[in-house]
Symmetry: C2
Subunit: 328 residues, 2 copies
Amino acid sequence: MPANATTAEIVAAMRSAQRIAVVAHVRPDGDAVGSVLGLVLSLRALGKDVIAILEDGVPGHLAFLPGTDTVVQPGTEPLGLDLAIALDTSTHERVGAKTKALLDAAPLLVNIDHHPTNPGYGQLNLIDADSPATGQIIYNLLSEHGLPIDDAVLQNLFVAISTDTGSFQFSNVNARTHRIVAEMIEAGLDTARLAQLVYQSYPLRRLELMRDMLNHMKFSADGRVLSWQLRRELMEAVGMQAGDTEGLIDILRMVDSVVGCVIFEDMPDGKVRVSARSKDSRLDVSVVCGHFGGGGHRMASGTRMKGPIEEAAQKFLEVLEHEVRRID
Amino acid sequence: MPANATTAEIVAAMRSAQRIAVVAHVRPDGDAVGSVLGLVLSLRALGKDVIAILEDGVPGHLAFLPGTDTVVQPGTEPLGLDLAIALDTSTHERVGAKTKALLDAAPLLVNIDHHPTNPGYGQLNLIDADSPATGQIIYNLLSEHGLPIDDAVLQNLFVAISTDTGSFQFSNVNARTHRIVAEMIEAGLDTARLAQLVYQSYPLRRLELMRDMLNHMKFSADGRVLSWQLRRELMEAVGMQAGDTEGLIDILRMVDSVVGCVIFEDMPDGKVRVSARSKDSRLDVSVVCGHFGGGGHRMASGTRMKGPIEEAAQKFLEVLEHEVRRID
Ligand SMILES: [Mn+2]
Ligand SMILES: [Mn+2]
């Protein structure tokens, strides 16, 4: 991995550019959307001409964030960029194919991320694996260098940090994380309103998915594996949209006997998306996903498999259960 | 309400006493257990002879907290106290009848709480309605006056604060709350481990309760009211224990159309416990609960009603729906 640039070098690159694109990864989560818009709104307040690009757009449950109405999905028209900035994206490709084509025309690529596996694909890189969220890196960057921070910027960066830490519950949280939120509250940010919008405002169809999960989830390996198949018919029946399933796997993970849990999900292309979680550091779910061509982190991994979903589940669970038995 | 004592007066009372009882309210939640044990362990480290009393004992899901093995339920034997301290308990009676009888023999009662309705029933009172948790008041007290704070104290006070703020999501959270947690992490506290124990380790029977709730919850008032009846038969079928229902109402509150939600619960004495939540500051659920002899906060209230549960629900919902229609 190339050495990190200094934050001063990165801010200098932002200040000397005029036409800037800021992007994040496909299937954007709260950290991706919040980091992009936090930085975009600050740079716009600085007078820059900034375009926010997300290959898959903004998921509906995050549409309340200020600035989401200015996010565009990539076209094919060249953008005439002075600078491209990729946030929260562990590999260059994960910005999405169309977005990558647009960025490749920019004279300079800045890569800011907190994924430890990020290879440093930018000309200027700022990879801080100790930050629980890219939003925390952006907040530090803006506040350290006196870039504009208003309430709209804070809303986006708070949601970035809150969602990537599971509302401050994950092991990536550090003292700085809480000090940042204290500063945000002192600056007048209404964090409770945002938490309500993020965590307590779900469409009924989300509870319908949850209900199906609780009615049809399956234990195996003596209660240590818990899995659920999210089938096309259910998606259609409830009118599922992007973001509806976020966090559902955490409910499976809650059961005290469980060490590994999995959600299998029918994809539009006939494939099956697999999301797996481990609750025991001796169980490495990235090994199981790797067996099927996927990967990720030790405690959280994913892959895609050939359908139908029932067969994919059977094959995946066989390998997972084998790994679970190995930790006895 | 009588004026608050200074924290110096309260600490002086603690320092000059030798035999001290610390208590909290019946059906103790995370703030009650965590505040009691945080203070108890600090006072014991100071060389005091401290008895921790909870009328209903420690609920199973909080038994991991250090010191819970020393918590006793009240007997009838006099305790020979120099000082009694009630924490997180909005009325004198809510410590429980047996506990109250023991406390009444103490020459001095200190009352530390964050409920705004606390009438100040102690000889020394410290009511801070701006604190999201009694645990935050205790942390401030200990750190301000240099009382012992070790990891076991911090574990208890963190769980007190985390649970009473819904993992930092509620509107009672302030900048000081986050600064305290930053200090705790800097002192070496593993907050992620505690969050996992509190939020991600539930017995399967909790998911069975959740499943029943999602299968049998009822909408009314055009989707703006959502309620569920937790019946005796279900409790027996799943082997329900204290603490199993904690947070279930937050799932009802998630639905975006809902402004008020209620759980009705069969009690051993044939009465029905009612827990109500508002999501809209114009809807005051304490008014609805007050109509049936209960009370609490504007956004979170409760009461007890005569059974059977079906009739209690019908009567309560009638009044709640009327209040909901008033905010149109
Ligand atoms: Mn992230
Ligand atoms: Mn409390």
